[in-house]
């Protein structure tokens, strides 16, 4: 090696690869206002579409009169179900095997449902047209309670054949969707029946909404000259949208180009296919002009993609000294008017059966009844991997309730029941194979970091001071140890509308040694352009700064299932590493040829192949790339490209330990987060800066959900929280600072050991905040209260416990 060669350390640093807090390449555009979001797409002659929506939650549509609307200047068309019916597009399939009205076909089933689509020259004319459409409704009785739905004679879905099976088996009532079960119920009942201690509780995880700052929208442009349809949209899964668009419209898939441009946050809201997308496409086909549809905020909160709404009845049993012996859970799941949950096909309750959590529970059962009500459809994974947030909240509440029943410290109860490090890979009672974990180490680190013993002592003193009348504030210590299941998923059991949940990466190395890689995923703020380049840099020895990452254009990117459920790093990240390894394998042959040695006589060293035992003889990746384009190499094709479609062998199982310390004012119901400590173990860490940012953001969404955010309905199905005045999004003023920490337990089956992190803070954060509230009142007899813990509810809790004198 001559003196000009940089040191190995310098060469590694130059890559900006794995483990580097590399600054984001996306930011130059975004900080200068040069992002390109769907509403920024502007095409010549573009029209605007807007919906007439139902003011009623349940009503028959007797007549729709569009005559006056058509007289409004600028209005070109008004579409109703009658117009879509000849195209068979008045209904559309949902991701959950149900079907959903695109436009009201004879009746409406939730407030805000799409009734007619007005197409006009600009958005103001479209809004005028919406005002002028006359719809005659006949009100029907409204059902907003899922328990009532299963008892009433009122039939919500008259389109479904009575007594016929649904997509997931028999329906036991006309408002029932499915019963989905896992585990051994008889053995679980027996274990609970024989147990020394049993705790029972109804745990409700209320209905909420992902509410990204950018609402949903699309621009459809049918070019009748060349027969190509282009759709820009807020799509978290653009390739699946293309396939669905082709199946629904009959346009061949090669003639459809779907583009997800920059997306202003998704959090699950942008996984589904919505009537607005369908109507924009139809309107463009009908008019021959581009048509834009953009939701306003009220439409977003009322109609696209609610999350949660799970009533979870739990029983957990243990020995007197706190060893858990069984867990039973029955969920009544309110799915709204159509079953449009965004789950892998075979999992109508998502991965809810991760609800045994971090604990070694010998026997368990879970049953989920899906129910129709007069609420919006959705059931998306709001920063969550398919009902994992519900599962984590359930088990972390049940542990707390069991601790109360046992009279035991909740931290000690957790530690006593954690799956031990040596038990991994661990098969849970509900059938998951946890790939790796080291819960005790994380837990001990967390408890020590916050001085848990000191906090408990302070809390006990506070309770005494409160009883003596010296303070009106209580102290809550919210504990959570969560286990996530992400990275859906193995094609053998995970698909969306029949598409296996693999993901992909295609790499091209340019002659001068820089590269472009395209993936089947799509960033919505996660920073893929930054982090995927880092994965690749470490694999192929080209600096991340010399690698362009592209996603979201189905004409150029390889097919993939998109970004949600923390699947991008576990699946597309793995594809990136695997494609990189293919590049390296070919590069090895080229290097050996150039160095005139046998393939096996060279070895990889950061950014080059060197001759074994002769480090001064090497070819850098840049030299190899150049040679691949300008030399005839016997037995090797020209060029340096690779593609990988990665089918993960298993999910990944990130975990974490969160502790929230909260002050609660008993008289006002106000709270103050004094400290929030978040330890995450997401396996190999690609970019610590980005991970920390993900944790801050996810925790703030968790704060919102736990402490105030909900989609609430009144008894006649009016949405009470349809604007940002009523729907709680925390500001910088309400949001605390967080302390982040980590342990690192790599996934044994992932090529680089990474597990995904985006959703962990939401999954673990909600129980941590909620447990803090509950814990503050534990000394006064509180077992369970429902989220969100807004000021009124906390005040009411204190009041009901007799703390107001």
């Amino acid at each position: 090696m001559n003196d000009m060669t940089p040191s190995r350390e310098d060469r590694v640093a130059n890559l900006k690869g794995l483990g580097t807090s590399r600054k984001r390449v996306e930011d130059a555009r975004f900080t200068q206002g040069k992002g390109n979001y769907v509403d920024d797409v502007k095409l010549p002659g573009m029209l605007f579409g807007d919906f007439v929506r139902s003011p009623y939650a349940h009503a028959r549509v007797k007549a729709i009169n569009t005559d006056e609307a058509m007289k409004v200047p600028g209005v070109l068309a008004v579409l109703t179900a009658k117009d879509l019916e000849p195209l068979n597009l008045h209904w559309m399939p949902t991701l959950a095997g149900d079907k959903q009205m695109v436009l009201a076909d004879g009746k409406v089933l939730f407030q805000g449902q799409e009734v007619a689509f007005v197409v006009a020259e600009d958005r103001y004319a479209a809004a005028d047209g919406v005002e002028a459409v006359e719809v005659e409704y006949e009100e029907l009785p409204v059902i907003t309670d899922p328990f009532h739905a299963l008892e009433t004679d009122i039939v919500l879905r008259e389109d479904l054949e009575a007594g016929a099976d649904g997509a997931h088996g028999p329906r036991k009532h006309h408002n029932h969707i499915f019963l989905w079960e896992e585990g051994d119920e008889a053995a679980t009942e027996q274990a609970i029946g024989e147990a020394e201690v049993v705790a029972e509780e109804m745990v409700y995880y209320h209905r909420t909404h992902p509410c990204p700052l950018e609402t949903c929208g699309a621009v459809a442009s049918m070019d009748k000259v060349n027969g190509k349809l282009t759709v820009w949209g807020t799509f978290q899964a653009p390739h699946v949208v293309r396939t669905v668009a082709s199946l629904l419209s009959g346009i061949e898939e090669h003639n459809i180009r779907v583009i997800s441009p920059d997306i202003g946050g998704g959090f699950g809201n942008k996984v589904g296919v919505y009537p607005g997308y369908v109507c924009a496409i139809v309107a463009s086909i009908v008019t021959g002009k581009p048509v834009k549809w953009i939701e306003d905020r009220m439409e977003n909160l009322m109609s696209t993609a609610f999350a949660r709404d799970y009533w979870m009845k739990g029983k957990i049993s243990a020995t007197k000294d706190g060893k858990i012996t069984g867990l039973h859970c029955h969920v009544t799941a309110d799915h709204g008017a159509f079953d449009a949950c965004a789950d892998p096909t075979k999992f109508p309750a998502g991965f809810f059966h991760i609800c045994t959590g971090s604990y070694d529970i010998p026997v368990a059962y879970v049953g989920v009844d899906g129910v129709y009500t007069n609420k919006a459809p959705g059931g998306v994974a709001y920063r969550c991997s398919f009902r994992v947030t519900e599962a984590a909240y359930f088990i972390e509440r049940m542990i707390e309730v069991l601790a109360i029943e046992l009279g035991m410290d909740a931290a000690e109860l957790r530690a006593k029941n954690f799956i031990k490090k040596e038990q991994f890979p661990y098969t849970s009672a509900l059938g998951w194979e946890y790939d790796s974990g080291d819960y005790h180490t994380a837990w001990e680190k967390a408890l020590k970091s916050v001085d848990y013993e000191g906090l408990r002592k302070e809390q006990a003193e506070r309770v005494e001071a409160f009883k003596r009348g010296e303070t009106r504030k209580l102290l809550g210590i919210g504990l959570t140890h969560f286990t996530e299941i992400v990275g859906a998923g193995p094609v053998k059991n995970c698909d969306i509308l029949g598409m296996g949940m693999f993901d992909s990466c295609e790499i091209r190395i340019h002659p001068t040694g820089s590269a472009i890689a395209r993936l089947g995923t799509i960033s919505q703020g996660q920073g893929h352009a930054t982090t995927f380049a880092q994965i690749l840099a470490s694999e192929i020895g080209i600096s991340a700064d010399s690698i362009t990452i592209e996603e979201g254009d189905t004409d150029t990117a390889p097919y993939g299932l998109g970004t949600y459920g923390s699947r991008s790093t576990p699946v597309a990240g793995a594809a990136t590493a695997m494609a990189g390894r293919k590049i390296r394998a070919k590069a090895q042959m080229i290097a050996a040829y150039l160095l005139e040695v046998h393939d096996d006589d060279v070895e990889w060293d950061v950014d080059r192949f060197v001759v074994k035992g002769a480090p001064e003889r090497f070819k850098t990746m840049a030299e190899i790339a150049y040679a691949s384009y300008n030399q005839a190499i016997p037995g090797v094709e020209p060029g340096l490209e690779a593609v990988s479609y990665y089918d993960p062998p298993n999910m990944t199982y990130p975990f974490g330990a969160y502790i929230c310390v909260m002050e609660i004012d008993v008289d006002t119901g106000e709270h103050e987060i004094r400290q929030f400590y978040a330890l995450d173990d997401c396996g190999t860490r690609i970019n610590p800066m980005v991970i920390e940012g993900q944790v801050h953001g996810g925790l703030t969404e968790a704060l919102a959900i736990a402490m105030g955010q909900e989609i609430a309905y009144d008894e006649i199905g009016n949405v009470k929280t349809g604007t940002l005045m009523d729907f709680f999004l925390p500001t910088s003023w309400e949001t605390p600072n967080y302390t982040t920490d980590h342990t690192e337990t790599p996934s044994p089956h992932h090529p680089i050991g990474a597990k995904g992190v985006g959703e962990s803070p939401n999954v673990g954060g909600v129980p941590a905040f909620s447990n803090a509230v509950h814990d503050a009142f534990r000394a006064f007899g509180l077992r369970q209260s429902h989220m969100p813990h807004d000021h009124w509810r906390i005040w009411k809790t204190a009041h009901d416990l007799g703390l107001h004198g």
Binding site: T31, G33, L213, T723
Partner: protein, 163 residues
């Protein structure tokens, strides 16, 4: 509907245009003038994605008629820095990971710019209070606050060096 003639100064350039009396400033900016940095997030003044600077004040342009802005001097994110010379805040947001999806960022930086004019040396509490009209769904604000504090320190240091 009869249109109204208005004049605006947008990022230093004089503009003359015809607007509907009911046209909102955010639509005039985005659709007539192709100034697409400010975004629409709620249309009710809550989220601040549409924040622009009008005659020295932070204004949510989604709830202001363009005719009300007649004669105004408007600065948007596009007017704060150039690709060759970024504003200190634009650099600080990148340096401290003060953004993720980028949708709130133009409004956030435009508001922060005005905040630091109003209070060049704010405490963390003052930043949190002064930025409370701009919502972010991705970052949890911690790094936004950090970015603004860092930008303030840098601007103050530059100011001192100049004096």
């Amino acid at each position: 509907m009869a249109k109204t003639h208005i004049t605006l100064t947008v990022n230093g350039e004089a503009k003359e245009l015809l607007v509907d009396p009911r046209e909102l400033l955010i639509h005039t900016l985005r659709e007539q003038l192709d100034v697409t940095g400010p975004h629409i997030g709620c249309e009710t003044s809550h989220c601040g994605a549409c924040t622009v600077d009008i005659d020295g004040k932070s204004v949510k342009s989604c709830t202001l008629f363009s005719v009300q802005a007649n004669g105004a001097d408007i600065t948007t994110i596009e007017g704060l820095g150039t690709p060759d010379e970024l504003h200190v805040l634009q650099q600080a947001f990148r340096e401290h990971h003060g953004l993720q999806c980028g949708y709130c960022t133009p409004g956030m930086i435009t508001r922060a710019h005005r905040l630091l004019q109003e209070n060049p040396n704010p405490t963390e509490e003052e930043v949190r209070f002064g930025m409370a009209g701009n919502l972010c769904r991705c970052t949890g604000y911690q790094n936004i606050v950090k970015s603004i504090m860092a930008a303030a320190a840098e601007m103050n240091a530059a100011q001192e060096a100049a004096e």
